[in-house]
């Protein structure tokens, strides 16, 4: 009989129920879409922030002080320490290896350039002093576990754009900065001769390179020539080494805990810190793998990212919260309305002998059924909307999460019950006689 009463109220007056359900479904769709977007958006935005480039810089620990102004190191080539290139594969063996989305070693050296026109009989004024930068464009790095990993400067310095194409390794190709290209009238396809002077013997050995593109970076690299790391090592007679390594890692914005000094942590805290992708814990893990290095966090990148991400996350959570609140109020109001309108029905039930408790339970059961059906529909609509949003903004589809469905159903039940609680309580106190008389 109980079930029949509940079922009847749905089948007898479908339009009214459909409207209540629509209100609920819409409210829950807001909640689902907002929740799905907020859950995913942090990770997605963290990826976007990698367009700022590397957030970690690795240099030799026992290095002399760099004399760097505007991105150019004025130390002589033989000063300072270098790091072995063969170790680099180990970067992809650290605990947070999947968070490392790119790295590129740099070997920089002062060098001399001769254009093809003057190569035969160069006058002393034809020698152009340049900075030679050796790095990877698309390099396959062997990883100790037997796999390989492809990375390059484009991942760590995404704002470096080449008009033309990057050099291929082992083919004596190079890329020249726009400022240099303009000054010396160089174009893609031209041949230039590069040499790094041997400081002890004063011998110059010029090696021809074909220009494959013109590089713009917005800073000193526009006055440099970029070649593959192997070419730079050959020219500078420094086999298998590099001086600086840029690493771009996906990180979790540092909170108060992430900022703590690991030395003052308890072992349990340290484990938690070590296993969180904070920039500082990734830096520690890298310095443990690459011996003899000093791994520094590039503060302006890491902190700028952390600040903006934190704000946007809080913002979206608040929007979600406000949306939920509004949906709850509107849905609750609609639930309350549907109870208020049913006074005569309640009067009749009571006149037929139902006590207040039973009336309450029947109406609550109705509302719950409504909540589950409406919540389910709302979830489906919300997931669809979140998908459209995700595709429009990020070009990806957020995974529908079962966790969200659970939250939505509980929420729908809570809201409808809360919304109808007060009118239900009043309704159960109605005196049937005046209601049935229509007063």
């Amino acid at each position: 009989m109980f079930l029949r009463l509940v079922a009847d109220s749905f089948t007898r007056r479908p339009r009214r129920k459909i409207l209540s359900m629509a209100a609920l479904a819409m409210g829950m769709a807001v909640a689902t879409a907002a929740l799905s977007v907020s859950l995913d958006v942090g990770d997605r935005l963290a990826h976007e922030f990698r367009s700022l480039g590397a957030n970690l810089l690795v240099t030799p620990e026992a290095d002399s002080l760099p004399l760097e102004i505007g991105g150019v190191d004025y130390r002589p080539v033989n000063a300072g320490a270098y790091l072995p290139e063969t170790d680099l594969g180990k970067l992809k063996t650290i605990f947070w290896r999947f968070n490392i989305i790119g790295f590129a070693p740099i070997l920089q050296s002062p060098a001399q350039l001769l254009t093809a026109q003057v190569m035969e009989h160069p006058a002393s004024s034809d020698y152009t002093d340049i900075q030679l930068i050796g790095t990877w464009s698309d390099h396959t790095v062997p990883i100790p576990d037997g796999t390989t990993y492809m990375t390059g400067i484009g991942k760590t310095n995404p704002w470096w754009t080449v008009d033309g194409r990057w050099f291929h390794e082992g083919q004596n190709e190079c890329v020249v900065g726009t400022a240099l290209a303009k000054r010396k009238g160089l174009h893609t396809g031209d041949k230039v001769f590069l040499s790094v002077e041997d400081l002890s013997t004063k011998v110059q050995r010029f090696v021809p390179h074909v220009i494959t593109g013109v590089l713009s970076t917005g800073s000193s690299e526009e006055d440099a020539v970029v070649v593959s790391l192997a070419d730079a090592q050959n020219l500078a007679r420094l086999p298998q080494v590099y001086r600086r390594l840029y690493v771009s890692a996906l990180t979790k914005p540092e909170d108060a805990f992430g900022r703590k000094d690991p030395k003052t942590m308890t072992p349990a805290e340290f484990d938690k810190w070590y296993c969180s992708p904070y920039i500082s814990s990734i830096a520690l893990q890298i310095s443990q793998e690459l011996k003899g290095t000093d791994v520094r966090v590039i503060r302006r990148v890491a902190e700028g990212e952390g600040n903006v991400l934190r704000r946007v996350r809080t913002l979206l959570w608040l929007v979600t919260f406000v949306a939920l609140l509004a949906a709850a109020l509107a849905v609750g109001a609609s639930a309350a309305a549907s109870v208020i309108e049913r006074r005569s029905e309640i009067g009749l039930m009571k006149a037929l002998g139902a006590n207040s408790g039973l009336v309450g339970v029947i109406l609550a059961a109705e509302q719950l059924l409504l909540a589950f059906v409406g919540g389910g529909i709302g979830y489906a609509v919300g997931i669809l909307l979140a998908r459209v949003l995700g595709e429009r903004i990020f070009g990806f589809t957020p995974e529908p999460k079962l966790f969200v469905l659970f939250v939505i159903l509980v929420l729908a039940a809570l809201i409808t019950l809360l919304g109808s609680a007060y009118p239900l309580r009043r309704a159960s106190r109605y005196d049937p006689a005046p209601i049935l008389r229509g007063e």
């Binding site: 009214r16 409207l19 209540s20 629509a22 209100a23 819409m26 807001v30 977007v37 958006v41 976007e48 367009s51 700022l52 480039g53 970690l56 810089l57 002399s64 002080l65 760099p66 004399l67 760097e68 102004i69 505007g70 991105g71 004025y74 002093d129 310095n157 995404p158 970076t217 917005g218 000193s220 006055d223 520094r296 590039i298 503060r299 302006r300 700028g304 600040n307 903006v308 704000r311 946007v312 809080t314 913002l315 979206l316 608040l318 929007v319 406000v322 949306a323 509004a326 949906a327 109020l329 509107a330 109001a333 609609s334 309350a336 309305a337 208020i340 309108e341 909307l385 949003l389 429009r392």
Partner: protein
């Protein structure tokens, strides 16, 4: 109609006050919708502005340099120091931190030590060095900061020369000498870690380049487009120098700003549409219950047009009431939300208020839409209690 005007309003009053429970429910739904509309619209406008401010934790994004980039070790091209004073101190009501740098490669040692080692000495002058060059000060001694001979040392340089705050450094370059007292050690992760930041005067004296600077760095707040127009106007103002954005930051900022602002717009739009649909569905639920009223009105001779007129007026009144109160509440909420997210109360923008009230009235009228079906209500069947 003319003679019926008092009657019309009397009926409206009765419609509204007949059932306080229902009135409350409707106002609650409409008010909640209005509040969320005005809160989110206001927050969205505010947040987009604030996010550009947050980007400034990335540090300088504009550089003024000599036309030829200094690539030679010494004697590179320089600018006049007077340029710094000519820079605008504000842009779009945000202050523009600007710092002039003069770089010298000199010899440095801790006071008392005889072993000198080469290091980059950067003379600085201007407002907001910490905004231009974000980093973390690991040591800091406030009392020394305003000393005319104060200097700040990069973390790597401090380790190299084995110095800490309070110590004195000896600086020399081609026979010229100076000393400075360290008031802070700073770690930035960049080239600055190996540099020593002195006053511009000290660096100029060491380099024997009075009134000259190597470059000026600025941190300009604004959307990518407005930063670009700042760069262009500055370039026109100083034809003797090259003004350019730091590509790494301007490009990434533009990219990220676009993403964030489209997320915000999309989320807010979605929430608004769904919230109004939700309010509408809830209100229609109430409207359908009006069958009895309509039946009675028609039975005593009300035309369909008049009945619809009555209900629409009621909807507008409810919309105005819910909208006026709800939108005001929403604006208050957005001020608080702004504070929660950005630490600064969001500025209430007055344009949001009428927009939000208007949207609420439209929602309310749209919710009365199902009432058109009531035109077909047959009074007799309503009174017989038929569905």
């Amino acid at each position: 109609m003319m003679t019926n005007t008092p009657m019309f309003w009397r009926i409206i009053r009765r419609l509204l006050t007949a059932n306080y429970g229902r009135l409350f429910v409707i106002l609650l739904a409409l008010g909640a919708g209005a509040a969320v509309t005005s809160a989110l619209l206001n927050l969205q406008i505010d947040a987009k502005k604030r996010i550009t401010g947050e980007f400034r934790s990335l540090g300088a994004n504009v550089v003024i340099a000599p036309i030829v980039y200094p690539i030679e070790r010494t004697g590179g091209p320089t600018l006049f120091e007077s340029l710094l004073a000519e820079l605008p101190s504000q842009y779009e009501s945000h202050s523009v931190p600007a710092v002039a740098f003069l770089y010298v490669i000199g010899e440095v040692a801790k006071s008392g030590a005889t072993q000198f080692a080469p290091a980059v000495i950067a003379g600085t002058k201007g407002q907001g060095l910490t905004e231009i060059r974000p980093g973390r000060r690991t040591q800091y001694l406030a009392s020394l900061e305003n000393d005319p001979d104060a200097c700040e040392v990069g973390a790597k340089a401090a380790a190299q020369f084995k110095v800490q705050v309070g110590d004195t450094l000896q600086l020399k370059n081609q026979g010229r000498e100076a000393t400075c007292k360290i008031f802070a050690v700073v770690g930035t992760g960049g080239a600055e870690d190996a540099q020593i930041f002195t006053t511009l005067k000290t660096a100029q004296a060491l380099a024997d380049l009075p009134d000259r600077i190597s470059l000026i760095q600025l941190s300009v707040t604004g959307t990518p487009a407005s930063v670009q127009s700042f760069i262009v106007s500055l370039g026109k103002q100083f034809p003797q120098a090259e003004v350019h954005g730091i590509k790494q930051f301007t490009e990434a900022e533009g990219h990220i700003y676009d993403r964030i602002s489209s997320i915000l717009t999309a989320t807010v739009f979605l929430v608004l549409v769904l919230t109004s649909l939700c309010v509408m569905a809830g209100m229609s639920n109430v409207a359908v219950e009006r069958k009895n009223d309509v039946g009675l009105m028609k039975a005593i001779g009300g035309s369909v047009q008049k009945v619809v007129h009555l209900f629409l007026t009621e909807a507008v009144l409810l919309g105005v009431a819910g909208g006026v109160v709800g939108s005001a509440l929403g604006l208050l909420v957005s001020i608080w939300l702004g504070k929660a997210v950005f630490g600064v109360a969001a500025e209430p923008r007055l344009i949001v208020y009428p927009v939000s009230v208007a949207l609420t009235i439209i929602t309310s009228i749209a919710s009365a839409f199902p009432l058109r079906r009531l035109a077909s209500v047959r009074p007799a069947s309503v009174f017989r209690g038929e569905e």
